[in-house]
């Protein structure tokens, strides 16, 4: 069997399951709703230059702390910036951070999990211990420590989030490999002379991927919430970047004035994005691993 054939088979097995989502009852609908929420945010963020009524950083675009009105549908903040424009632009940072940190997690967690569980022995034991130690640590605290040292920036923020979540990928890959590698078809492949490497990549990995997809989807939500949390404790991006997390953080100081619109809208956007990923991940994990739910 050539490599392309193997790849083709993975795609063929995977796509119809996702394509016929609607026929799959509640889990299918949850996935569709989640993906729709995420797509809406992505479209809005990409279209920001064309649909945003003002420059998100323009100071004094309107009166200071104006309530939502016809000319400023979401009101203005303490610097007279238009909250609608800031809302339209503000998702880009979170999306970048989420995508980047999930990619790093995939690039590190999956291979380490594959190798460690397949190799077994001392390698597996020591890697597991290290991963478990990170996993047991309160995630936000660890991310705070790393972000505080690396300094602000999209890449640094993504890295500090990725370190926290690599163990989740490692654990799911490891537990899957451990059960899959005992299955008869893997044994058959080995008997027929497949090398360790090709057993791992061609026979085991394809069956591990669905669980990884589900974990990664939910992990987008974790990454977004952690990014918002880092911003909230003062480890966010520079003020010049419009960001929901930052607006929400600053909004806390404006609360006593009763300016609810300054926190309500950016907060709701974070909820929509995180909830979209959480719903999609929840639905996908039920669709892809029906047994896990039982």
């Amino acid at each position: 069997m050539t490599r392309t054939e193997t790849r083709g088979r993975i795609v063929v097995q995977f796509l119809p399951r996702v394509a016929s989502l609607r026929k799959r009852g509640l889990a299918g609908w949850i996935t569709i709703i989640g993906l729709a929420m995420v797509s809406a945010v992505v479209v809005m963020t990409v279209a920001a230059p064309w649909i945003s009524p003002h420059d998100p950083n323009e100071i004094g675009a309107g009166p200071v702390l104006a309530e939502p009105s016809e000319s400023f549908p979401l009101g203005t903040n303490h610097m007279g910036q238009d909250m609608l424009s800031r809302l339209i632009w503000g998702g880009s940072t979170m999306l970048q951070v989420a995508v980047l940190s999930v990619l790093v997690c995939l690039a590190v967690g999956v291979p380490v999990g594959l190798v460690s569980s397949y190799a077994g022995g001392l390698v597996d034991k020591s890697t597991s211990l290290a991963m478990d130690s990170i996993y047991a640590f309160p995630g936000l605290v660890l991310a705070i420590a790393i972000a505080a040292m690396l300094g602000p920036g999209v890449v640094n923020m993504s890295l500090s989030i990725a370190v926290v979540y690599v163990p989740s990928y490692y654990r799911i890959v490891r537990s899957q490999v451990l059960s899959i590698k005992e299955l008869p078809y893997v044994e058959a492949a080995r008997t027929l002379g497949a090398s360790g490497r090709s057993t791992l990549l061609r026979y085991i990995l394809p069956n591990v991927l669905p669980s990884v997809v589900a974990v990664a989807t939910i992990n987008f939500a974790d990454a977004i919430l952690t990014a918002a949390g880092l911003t909230f404790v003062g480890l966010g991006l520079p003020i010049s970047t419009p960001d929901w997390g930052w607006d929400l953080t600053y909004g806390r100081r404006l609360l006593p004035s009763g300016a609810w619109w300054v926190i309500a809208f950016p907060g709701l956007m974070i909820v929509i994005l995180a909830l979209g990923f959480a719903l999609a991940g929840e639905g996908l994990s039920e669709l892809l691993n029906p047994k896990l739910e039982e």
């Binding site: 640590f137 309160p138 605290v141 505080a148 040292m149 690396l150 929400l248 006593p256 009763g258 959480a278």
Partner: protein, 343 residues
């Protein structure tokens, strides 16, 4: 394996985990790019000042010696000196800890009660509208940033309705002193307990009023996982024979649900409480910042603002040790309650 040998082996396993954790934090703060001292001063100090500063904090020694002193210091309960005023980080952490502990206890109680109640209801009405809405609540509670929920509560219950205070732990001057009888003095640092020890109901009510919004916020955010766990456990349990038998004997549905089926979910819930402890602490950091609650989380965030890296390191190590300790206790408790785990 006997319980005793299980406990011993579990404790032995904790030691390398703690060492790894200490090393990890040391690597992050001291070895990752970014010199704590330089970042602290933000380039506003002469080289001589910086040298003197390093010497006072012991940061001029070779890294391996610093590492050794750090680990040995910890064994003596020494978490280093603050970069701000060279005061003991350990002492500051111990004085901030009771506030965090009190918030955590009440939040966890709300999370478990709310989660188990909703989860049990969902399992009773499996696949109905009620079940689906409870499941959605479970997922949504997970997707809300805890500080956003906190601010919404502050706005509604504090600023608009004036029902609860929006920040702080108690009105100034009302701090309960605990039990004093002659020379004997007992104070836990937990205001709700100290006020009762002192026999002062108005202080107790006041402490609860301040606790209400922060612990409700954190409790709701953490409840989702308990909803899920209780629901899936109960759905399975409700199919078992002993439940059918209980129903056949004519017991009310309520008695079957809460008296029989729910008991079976007790152990997984206990384990989850242990596992959620890390999430609880992370949530506490954000909740404390939102509500100006004078605990460990706010201490950490304050220190970040001052770029006080020795204090940040101390606080983070303390958080890690706390989590390791709690998971050790939960595992041992679990082994005691469920002998199968020791096999």
């Amino acid at each position: 394996m006997t319980l005793r040998s299980y406990v011993v082996s579990r404790i032995l396993l904790t030691i390398p985990m703690i060492l790894l954790l200490l090393t990890l934090v040391f690597v992050i703060i001291r070895i990752l790019p970014g010199d704590p001292v330089l970042v602290h001063f933000e380039k506003q100090a002469t080289p001589a000042m910086i040298e003197e500063f390093r010497r006072q904090l012991g940061l001029d020694k070779p890294l391996e010696q610093q590492y050794l002193e750090y680990v040995v210091g910890l064994l003596r309960g020494d978490l280093g000196k603050s970069m701000a005023d060279f005061s003991s980080v350990g002492q500051q952490i111990f004085s901030a800890f009771p506030a965090t502990l009190e918030l955590s206890i009440y939040s966890m109680a709300i999370a478990v009660l709310l989660g188990v109640f909703l989860g049990a209801r969902a399992s009773r009405s499996y696949n109905s509208i009620e079940d689906h809405s409870i499941r959605i609540f479970g997922i949504a509670s997970y997707a809300i940033p805890v500080f956003f929920l906190g601010m919404v509560f502050q706005l509604i219950f504090g600023i608009w309705l004036h029902l609860f205070p929006t920040g702080g732990r108690i009105s100034p001057g009302m701090e309960p002193s605990g039990l004093t009888a002659g020379d004997f003095h007992l104070s836990t640092g937990l205001y709700t307990i100290d006020s009762l020890l002192e026999g002062n109901p108005s202080e107790f009510v006041e402490a609860l009023r301040y606790l209400f919004l922060p612990s409700l916020t954190l409790g709701i955010v953490l409840s989702g996982i308990f909803v899920r766990l209780t629901r899936s456990n109960m759905i399975e349990t409700l199919r078992l024979d002993f439940v059918t038998a209980a129903r056949a004997r004519g017991l009310t549905e309520r008695a079957v649900l809460y008296g029989y089926a729910l008991r079976n979910a007790f152990l997984p819930i206990l384990t989850m409480m242990g596992l959620q402890f890390a999430a609880l602490l992370a949530g506490a950091i954000l909740t404390e910042t939102t509500f100006s609650w004078p605990g460990l989380g706010r201490y950490l965030v304050d220190r970040i603002a001052f770029r006080d890296y020795t204090a940040i390191q101390g606080a983070i190590v303390f958080f890690g040790l706390l989590v390791a300790l709690v998971s050790l206790v939960v595992d041992i408790l679990y082994a005691y309650l469920d002998p199968r785990i020791r096999l």
